[in-house]
Structures are given as C-alpha cells and as structure tokens.
C-alpha cells in the first residue's frame, strides 16, 4: 500500500470503524507473527495480539504520522505488551551478553542435527538476548529498515546496528561446527 494511501486510511480509521477494520486485516498477520516470535505460545500470542489492537483502537485518535509506517506503532505496542506480560513472570528468560548460547547442550545440538538449516538458524535466534532477538526478527523476519526498527524499539539507528551485528556475530561464533560446515 503506498504511503499516502496508508496515511489516509489511518486518518479515516480515527472515525470510521470500517477503515479500522481494514487496518486490522492488513496488519493482523504480521503483528500476530511478531507476537508469536516473542512469546512462542499460541494462546499468549493471541492475548498479546488482542491487546495490541484494542490499545490501537483506544488510542488511534492520538496517533500522528511521524514519518514511519503505521505498523511501527503497532510493533511498539506489541513490544510493550510482551514486556508487560513478562514483568509479571519474574522477567523474560534472558541471557547475558557474555553468556554462551545453549547450542552445545544436547537438546539444542539434537535440534540442529534434526532440522534443516533454516529452522536451525531461527532456533538459534530464539536463544539470543531479548533486544538482539527483537532486532533480528524485525530485520530478517519482517524486513524492516534499520531506521524503522530504531523507531519501534525506541533506540538509535546505531544501537540497532550494534544489536544486529552482535546477533549475527553470536550466531556465527556459537553455532555448532556441523552447522558452520553447512554454511559453506
């Protein structure tokens, strides 16, 4: 959808339920997919997606175009909804920057061996620290521009680049040797 068409649709959606429905139809798949990528649970992803669109509905009158796609706003709400969910659960399972990926553990090794390369590398992404994982999913899973990812995550473009660089570097460094062999 061209940018001006999306902006017009968003403006109409501030007063027109059908226009809001069109936005929902357009963005449901990617918001649900993104939510699922963060929580890995179908029921939870449904809860998060529901919360995202109800929040968007309640606040759409206050939304103003700031040079980024409307989806950036929805992604922001999604990230915050996921953060709220984990806040009540003693924090997301998180790796320190210096910690190793659990790829050398038998379960992950088995996974690597068992599945195809694509599945293997995305499984490894799931093990990255939270911010790295979000940046990687938005870049490689959702094809977002770095500037847009920065907007969504509330970070500078430089910080996003750093997260991506660290993410890729950790995948390269810590995936098992069999996997590296498969790359070449």
């Amino acid at each position: 959808m061209p940018d001006f068409e999306e902006r017009e649709l968003v403006e109409r959606a501030k007063e027109d339920p059908d226009a809001f429905g069109a936005l929902y139809d357009r963005y449901f798949p990617q918001i649900y997919r993104f939510a699922y990528s963060r929580v890995h649970d179908q029921s939870l992803a449904e809860d998060v997606t529901s919360e995202v669109f109800f929040k968007a509905l309640r606040n759409i009158r206050r939304y103003t175009y700031a040079g980024h796609p409307f989806s950036s706003w929805l992604y922001q709400i999604t990230l915050n909804a996921v953060a709220d969910h984990y806040r009540g659960q003693h924090g997301e399972v998180e790796l320190e920057e210096g910690a190793s990926l659990p790829s050398s553990e038998p379960s992950v090794v088995d996974e690597v061996v068992r599945r195809d390369r694509s599945r293997r590398v995305w499984s490894a992404i799931d093990q990255l620290p939270r911010h790295q994982r979000a940046a990687m999913v938005l870049k490689f899973g959702e094809d977002k521009k770095i500037e847009e990812i920065a907007q969504i995550m509330g970070k500078s473009a430089g910080a996003v680049k750093l997260l991506l660089h660290r993410g890729v570097e950790r995948l390269r460094r810590e995936l098992p040797p069999e996997f590296e062999a498969g790359l070449t």
Partner: protein, 758 residues
C-alpha cells in the same frame, strides 16, 4: 545480499554467510486459529462502532467503557466504589413473578462520592431500555450520556460532578407502549408508576480558602527540620502533588506495621539502583504507606493524574520504564533502555515522558509511542519538562536548548545553561556557571531568557527549585570549589531580588518544595559521610497561620451546632456575636423538627490589612425527616481575642430550597500578578451563554460596576472574573437569576456576597 543496509553493516565474509542464510530463510509460520482472527475482528469492530464516533471522547473522563475496562468497573460496583442506586425498585409488569428488581440497598444517601465516577444502576432483568433511560432526571442539572451495558444503566456525566453537592437521581414513570397493559408485550417491563429517587453527596472540596491562595513564598521562612528517620536509607525521591513522598529505598526495608529501621540508617552515597531497590509511598513524615514498585527506582510523579513513572531493572544491563498508580498498579510499560538507569524519567506535562538511553534523548507518550524530537545527545546534562506540557529544557552535549514538542523545534539557551527548573506557571529558571560564581536566568514559557541575578563573588548556585506560587526560587549555594558539605539552602525572589538564607545549617542541598508549600524536602550530609533525606517546615506568614487558626475555631463552632450543643457553640462567640444570634441575625441551632445536616465553607477571606480578622461564609444544609431540604448561608466575622478567634458578627441569607435551579457553590478571591481573579463555582451544568458580565458582577462600595473579563470552565462549573480590586476595599459579588442551567432553569434567587481586596 540485495540489501544495502546489510551490505554496509556486514563486510566480513563470515558474517555475510550467516546473513545470506537468514535472508533466504524465514521463521516457520506460527500456528494460527482462523476462528481467533475472525473473533477478534468482530470484537474490535463492535468496539470501534461504539467508540469511533466524532465527539465521543471526554477529555476529563478517565474511563473508557471497553469490555476490558468495564469488567473491573462492574467489580468496583460490587466493592461500592461506584454510585449505585440504593433502594429496591420494581418494574411494572402484570405478574409479580416477572417483576424486574434493582437491588440498590447499599448506597442511598451515600456521602463522599467521587466527582469523576460513572453512576451505575443495575437491573435484575431485561427492561425497556429506551423508556427507562429517558426517565432519568438528575438534580442539580447535569448533562450526561446514558449507556446500557447488559442490564446495567451507566450514566456518565459529561463534566465532573460538583463537590460538596447533594445530587438527586430519579427514574420517573414514563408511559410507553411496553409499559401499557397490552398483553402483547409482557416481556419488556418498564419503570414502576412511582418515581424512584436516590440521593448522594459528593466529596467535599479541598478546604484551601486561605492556604495556599494566600500562600506567598516571599513570606515563608525556615521553620524546623526533621530527618526522614522512619524511611531509613533513601536513595532518591520526590513529592507527589498530594504531598506524599515517593522514595527509592533498598529492597526489603520495613513497611507499615513493621518495626522501624534504625534511625541512624544512612543513605549510601550516589544512587546505585539495581534490582535491589523498591519504591515506597510514604507520608510527609516518612511513615511508610505502601510498597508500590518492588524492584523499582527513580520515581517521578506526574504533575496530575495520580500516577508516577519509574524504572524497573530487568537485567544487569537493561530496565523498563513504566507508569504506576499510587496503589502500585502498573498502568503500562512504555520504554526500555539498554543500561542501568542513572536518573529519573522526566515528565513533560502529564502525558509525555523524556528519558535518556545510551546518551540519546527520547520522548514517549504515556502509551509508549515515540514523540518526535530532534536528535539530541545527552550525557549528564540537565533535563527538565514544563508541567504545562510541550516544553523540554535540555543540556545536550552540543548546546542547551528548549525543545517545543509540538513543533519539534529547539530554541537556544545561553551557552552553559544548566540546572533547569520549571515553575508551576511554566517559567524556566537556570544558572550559567561563571569563573567566580553563577548567573541566574529566568525565561517565561522558556523564551527570552533574562539574566536576573548573579551570585556573590566566590559563591556558586545550583539545585534550583521553584516555590509553588512561582514567586521565589530555592537553591543551594556554596563557595566556588568547595565540597557539598559546605552547601546551604537559600531563597531568592523570581525577579532576582531578596537573596536570603533558608535555615542556618550547612550541608543542605537538592531542595524540593511540596506542592502546598508547607514543607521542603532536601538532602543533607550525615555523620557517616552519606546523604540522608530531611524535610523542613516552612513557617507560614502570620496571616496564613492566623487563617488556619480561625478555620479550626469555625470547625469547632460548627460541630457543636451540628450536634445541637448550644453551650459549646456559645463558647465560640464573643459578646457581640452572642448578641447578634440572640437578636435574630441568624439561628444558632436548628429549629425544632429540623437538623443542621452538614456545612462547608463557601469562602474565607482575610479582612483588609488586619490579619487578625476574617470573613468566613458557610453554607449550612437543613434536613427534615432525614432528607436535606434547604440551605442557608452565614457570613461570620472572626476576630482575635485573647489569642483565640471568636465569632464577632454574623449575617445570614434566607433559606433556599434545594432542587430549584443552579446555585453558587463557592467563590474564591485570588490575587494575580496583574490584579485579581474571582472564581465562582456552581453546582449545576450551566448554559454557557448565560454566564456573562451581565449575570455575574462585582460592584464597589458605591454600587458601581467593576469592569471585569469573564470566562467559563464547564468542567469545573466555574466562572472566572479577572478584574482590578483595591487592597482592603470591600466589594459585592452579585450573581443574578439570569444564570441558567442546561435544563433552562434559572437560579431561584440572586446571590450576593462580599469580596475583599487583599
């Protein structure tokens, strides 16, 4: 790779291999229930059709009745927080077995009802909703929106209800087709023939007739200090608008009912909050009230709205920025940062929050959506937001500036500007360090900065904090190059005059005025070398202290009258006052068969230049058979005799029946920088076109009209007259019967009252 961003970012062939694999692959599609997608769409569309109507929003109303919000609202009904009709009514039908009942037994005549709550009337079964809703009548006249949520009638006032007001809600009989005896519609009963009536009374308005209206920071002096001993170790904190404290403490410190920690506990130097701190709400005397954010740090109360922002550390190098209410309920997580927080978030108005993440300034709204700001690098520079919103003062790496969040445009400040502080009126103050001292600047609305004072040679200023009346600043002064142990608190007028010490002690810094102006929170070096938090009482001016004393006497006097204790009531009268009551100027006790039910002060004014004489107007409500029927007003003159205020004179108005048009609820005289404002508050929603200079007037002693500008705030039902008054002169406020409520009913009688220039 076909992605210039990735090509630029990943030059190393080993990295490119990983990136290429990622680009060629996609995560597996998540499992999706198509029914869920359709179900969610249907729910959203229903909600969208209900809410996305032009003009549907009420800017003051804190609730939206989405299903998600309505559920707790309904739960609150059960808990008694909402206004629920408190009597049993039955809806007409032909068979008693099919009567629809409303269990409303709990809150008939409820008092202290909040002014911003919906009125929920639950019915036990289906009714003719249109017919029932049409019969609802509210007195005083109140514009409302009525909605049905299931079998509950939800009445939402279009503006907050008036305080100190007894409301009557009635459901009147309204013959409808479904209410007739036609047998064809037996299943849609409607309201019973007899009207159902409910009375409830809203919360009293804050009694602030003398303080803070007459609070002038220029008159304030240092009273006495006390250490926040019960708080134990405190890392940082500040005031809430209501005068409580939000403090960051080490995790696990004592709470209410627990043994107090050692009074010698000390703050331990600069704050190092990790996930080992908690945020507590405490009284101004440092009594722990409740733990509001376990694991939180750096709380910052919003200028209004009863919420605060704070950090919640989530890992060794990350934290979430959240908003909580003062009960400790998380309202939402609005941002994350990649480091441990080292400063409190900064409110810009009550709907935006600024913070710094890895040296980058970011601003979000209360829902977490980013607000566009020009790219700004901030290290340890000063950051402060105007409480009026939109303006953010920033000491960035490059320069100091004020950013207008509406336009995103920055306005430069003098080179070196730092230590920003915004007043409640929206004036910015800051200092510019000089080799031998400091220059103090102020900038109205952040523009046109004016140099107003320089520190004495050899002294530097920092820690600016405005007094609540925006007339004075408190600051910390110390010799150039000296340590903080030499710091002391000082006050200076906003125009740069009147520099004076606040207290005589050294080692004071970081002052923060409470919003009422009666306390100052500050930190002080303690004997162990750390920093501890203290408060200092501010000694009010003689007039303010006298006003408090006079009002305490009025309260004693009125309690005796409400209880019918003539002897106790007479103790508050001097001989002239006793003579006045005996002569029939007013009635000391309620006549037989009636009862003085309640009262509240309509106005309190210091009389002229004599600080020991006050004019206090009281509205006294009279009930008969347990129901308030009328009110009258007394104007008391209190004078100081033998160190006690006594009623020296009284006049009273005729009795006014309740429910006969709008009435004046209160009025207040407030000095301003350019003259005076007289705020006149009504109890009903008014037709704005009837609130004019013709219907609300102020006249001088000769009966001449004082020219005034008049504005009207429908949310507060308040007319404001801006006009010149001569200090010490007495004027008459006249509200004519031309003032009309939204139902077209005029005031029953004109209102006359005294206004005294101060």
């Amino acid at each position: 790779m076909n992605d210039p961003e990735l090509e630029e970012l990943f030059q190393d062939p080993a990295h490119r291999e990983v990136v290429d694999l990622l680009k060629m692959s996609r995560p597996a599609a998540p499992p999706l229930d198509a029914d869920f997608r359709n179900y969610l769409r249907a729910k959203l569309m229903a909600e969208a059709r209900r809410t996305l109507q032009p003009g549907a929003s009420r800017r003051w109303f804190p609730f939206s009745l989405s299903p998600k919000v309505l559920a707790p609202a309904m739960a609150a009904v059960a808990a008694g927080f909402l206004v629920v009709l408190g009597i049993q009514i039955y809806l007409q039908n032909q068979s008693p077995s099919s009567m629809v009942a409303v269990d409303l037994s709990r809150i008939q005549n409820k008092t202290n009802v909040a002014t911003a709550e919906p009125i929920v009337i639950p019915f036990s079964g289906p009714v003719d909703k249109d017919a029932v809703a049409k019969t609802v009548v509210i007195e005083p006249a109140t514009s409302v929106t009525k909605q049905w949520v299931g079998d509950n009638l939800v009445i939402i006032p279009d503006h907050p209800l008036a305080p100190n007001t007894t409301y009557t809600v009635s459901l009147k009989t309204s013959p409808t087709a479904s209410a007739s005896n036609k047998p064809a519609v037996p299943s849609t009963p409607t309201v019973a023939p007899s009207p159902v009536t409910l009375h409830f009374t809203t919360v009293p308005a804050p009694i602030a007739p003398v303080v803070p209206p007459s609070f002038r920071s220029g008159n304030v002096s240092y009273g006495q200090e006390s250490r926040l001993a019960d708080a134990g170790t405190v890392f940082n904190g500040g005031w809430t608008p209501a005068g409580q404290l939000l403090l960051t403490r080490p995790a696990g410190q004592a709470g209410p009912g627990w043994p107090s920690p050692s009074a010698t506990a000390t703050a331990s130097g600069p704050p190092t909050p990790k996930a080992t701190t908690d945020i507590w709400l405490m009284s101004a005397l440092s009594t722990p009230i409740r733990l509001v954010v376990p694991g939180g740090s750096f709380p910052a109360a919003a200028p209004s709205g009863g919420v605060f922002a704070a950090w919640l550390v989530t890992s060794s190098n990350g934290a979430n920025l959240g908003i909580w209410d003062l009960q400790g309920n998380l309202q939402g997580t609005i941002a994350t940062i990649d480091s441990l927080p080292d400063r409190a978030p900064v409110w810009v108005g009550s709907d935006r929050i600024a913070y710094v993440n890895q040296g980058r300034l970011l601003v979000v709204d209360t829902h977490g959506a980013n607000v566009n700001t020009p790219p700004t690098q901030v290290q340890h520079g000063s950051l402060a937001g105007s409480p009026l919103g939109m303006l953010l003062a920033v000491e960035s790496v490059a320069a100091s500036k004020v950013i207008d969040l509406a336009s995103g445009s920055p306005s430069p400040l003098p080179v070196g500007a730092t230590g920003f502080a915004w007043s409640a009126k929206g004036d910015l103050a800051f200092v510019v360090p000089q080799p031998a001292g400091s220059d103090l600047y102020t900038a109205a609305e952040g523009k046109n900065a004016q140099h107003v004072a320089s520190s004495p040679s050899g002294q530097t200023w920092s820690d600016l904090n405005w007094a609540p009346d925006a007339a004075s600043l408190m600051l910390a002064g110390k010799p150039v190059g000296a340590s903080s142990s030499s710091s002391r608190l000082m006050m200076i007028n906003a125009d740069g005059t009147g520099l004076r010490n606040f207290g005589s002690q050294q080692e004071y810094s970081s002052p923060q005025w409470s919003s009422h102006g009666d306390l100052v929170l500050f930190s002080r070096q303690d004997e162990a070398g750390g920093r501890a938090f203290w408060t200092a009482n501010t000694a009010p001016s003689e007039a303010d202290a006298a006003g408090k004393q006079a009002m305490a006497e009025v309260e004693k006097f009125m309690q005796a009258r409400l209880q019918g204790d003539s002897t106790a009531a007479q103790e508050s009268l001097d001989p002239a006052g006793q003579s006045a009551y005996r002569g029939g100027a007013s009635t000391l006790l309620s006549p037989t068969g009636t009862k003085f039910d309640r009262y509240y002060p309509v106005t309190v004014q210091r009389t002229g230049s004599n600080p020991s004489k006050f004019l206090v107007a009281l509205r006294i409500f009279v009930s008969r058979s347990g129901v308030q029927r009328s009110f009258f007003e007394e104007q008391l003159t209190l004078v100081l005799k033998d160190q006690r205020y006594l009623v020296d004179a009284v006049t009273s108005t005729p009795s006014v029946p309740l429910g006969h048009g709008p009435t004046v609820l209160s009025y207040e005289v407030v000095p301003t920088s350019s003259g005076y404002q007289v705020h006149v508050q009504f109890d009903a929603d008014l037709r704005p076109e009837t609130v004019t200079a013709d219907t609300i007037q102020v006249k001088d002693a000769d009966g001449k009209l004082v020219r005034a500008q008049i504005t009207f705030d429908p949310d507060r039902h308040t007319a404001t007259l801006t006009l010149p008054l001569r200090p010490g002169n007495t004027y008459e406020l006249v509200v004519t019967t031309g003032v009309t409520d939204v139902n077209g009913v005029t005031m029953a009688v004109a209102y006359h009252a005294q206004v005294i220039g101060r």
